[in-house]
Amino acid sequence: MRFLLIEDNADLAVSVRDRLALDGYGVDWAESIGAAEDCLAGASYDLILLDIMLPDGDGRAFLSAQRSRENDTPIIVITARSEVSDRVHMLDLGADDYITKPFDFLELEARCRAVIRRKNGAASNVKHYGDLEFDSLSATVKVAGRVSELRNRELRLMEIFFSSPEQIFPKSQLLDRLFSYADNVSENAIEVYVARLRQKIDGGAVRIETVRGIGYRMSKQETPRP
């Protein structure tokens, strides 16, 4: 998945790019509408994140220009403006969603995911590890012929493990990816979700191991457990 981020504030852009990279998205950053046009001429993107106030023009003009050019790449508008005055208008211009500054990365990620899911319809995005089948778009895991649906946090946790099997993820890092920083949660909260995932993938060769004192990792046994 490749995103185009159009944002003139460098600090914000870099942190958005770094954060989305953690979730496995490649992000190209354009500082202005002009730079964005150059990027679009040379590559295709799965999603565009568009700030409204840009140095060389109004993001809304860019938005309607894209739509009139029949570029149907999903666009999420990042707006700093008042909710009441702007939001409905953005959708009228052809934005797929919007998010108000300052935003929670979790929410940005959730909105990106929702927009991509909506755009791709019933398409699936199946990954395999061992005998475990994981579809991140339909939010299901399949093991030994049994399909289980994943709730949102379980899905995100599964994605983290799938992004780098065998790697040990510290509890604190998992916590940051699953909970908003505004939530007041202890590291133990992560155990609940790990336990649920273990239940749903039970019966196959893949396991989520506790690495005492450090965190968790996903691993597979060469032969299924007896």
Partner: protein
Amino acid sequence: MNAPLKPSASLRQRLRLQLLGLIAILSLLLYFSVRTIAGGAAETTQDNILSASATSIIEALHAEQDDILLDIPYAALSMLGANSEERVFYRIMTKASTITGYDDLPAPETFPAPEQPVFYNSEYRGSAVRIVAMTRVITVRDTPTEVLALVAQTRLGQDAITARIANTAAALGVGFFLIAGILGALTVESALRPIVNIAQAVQRRGPHDLRPMLKPAPLELAPLLASLNSFMERLRTALLRTEDFIAEAAHRVRTPLATVRAQTEIALRRAKTPEDREALRAVIRAVDESARSAGQLLDHASVTLRADKMERGDVDLSALVKDLVHGLAPTAEIRDIRIILHPAEGEFTTIGDPVLLMGALRNILDNAIKYSPDESEISVVLSAEEELCCITICDSGRGLNDAEQKTLTRRFGRGSNVADVVGSGLGLTIVSEVVAAHGGSFRLTPNKERGTCAKVCLPRK
């Protein structure tokens, strides 16, 4: 909205009445002057003939010894008999006795001076008559004797002429009244047309169209129109400036906050000690709180601004609620909260400003998500109740106590049990203001088991 002003009086009515009164007076004047002048002229004609007749009679008088002799010339009476209906009387008399003619024909008390005939009206033998009295002095036996000749003619012809003249004068008067009345009414219309045009143009544009009026105005109305235009221009500038200010303020406040938040999140990922992490979390919560407060303050300003110039149109509430749930579902999903939109049958159309209504309902649903525990459900129900459509949003959050339900809708009022959740307390104020501006009601009630139900009812179209 102000109640329409009660007009003091109709300008058109006043002009019409005044013109009509004026025309009526003129018509009456016309009638009477035509009657008087023409009647006078007819009378003068009769008097001239009478006078000529009397003269020829009196000229024929002559004295012979002691007597006064008279040969009445034929022409003297025939000139009066032109109209066969008309009767003619005469009387020749001295102060002592009647010489000839009708001796009871009324004579003036004193004889008029010679050469100065006197005319008068009288009643004689059942008819109105016009009489001329003319004196001549004849010398009889060296004594000058005054002889009076009276010639009378019935006034039938005269009366007929007068009646005809009166009819004509009345017809003239009525005709004048009608023509002048119609012309007057047309004049009133054409004089009022510029005023009516401007009034209609102002009415057509409604209270939200603040473009200047460019219609040509008559000189007298030009100052009024100029003031109206400059007032509208000032209002437009003020509204635009407020809108710009709100947008600019939001941008200036939120963009740096977004950067602070993003940087803090990155720092948090690198933080090693639990103390550092806790401190950075506190920074993020503070950023969220100030962003939310700023956002809601600005939203509140926008709501007030929009409610003032409220753009009313048909709003399909079921589509609006669907969009709303759709928009907030990703936020809820982060915490595994499900928003369940119960399907509703029928039409749910209200009249109002969709942006305001969306803002209000978003605030309620936003609150519901904020105060709901992880992995819970929020239900959204659309229902029709008589003339109302109601939207009920129930969560299973921490709920509120009775006293709080009132204070919550006040500015900055917050529940007593939510100190650990970011919030400014403006959200529900926005809701109640928007709902009130739409003539609806907003109530908070406890949910069955736990949590709160927020119910918004709006008048159905």
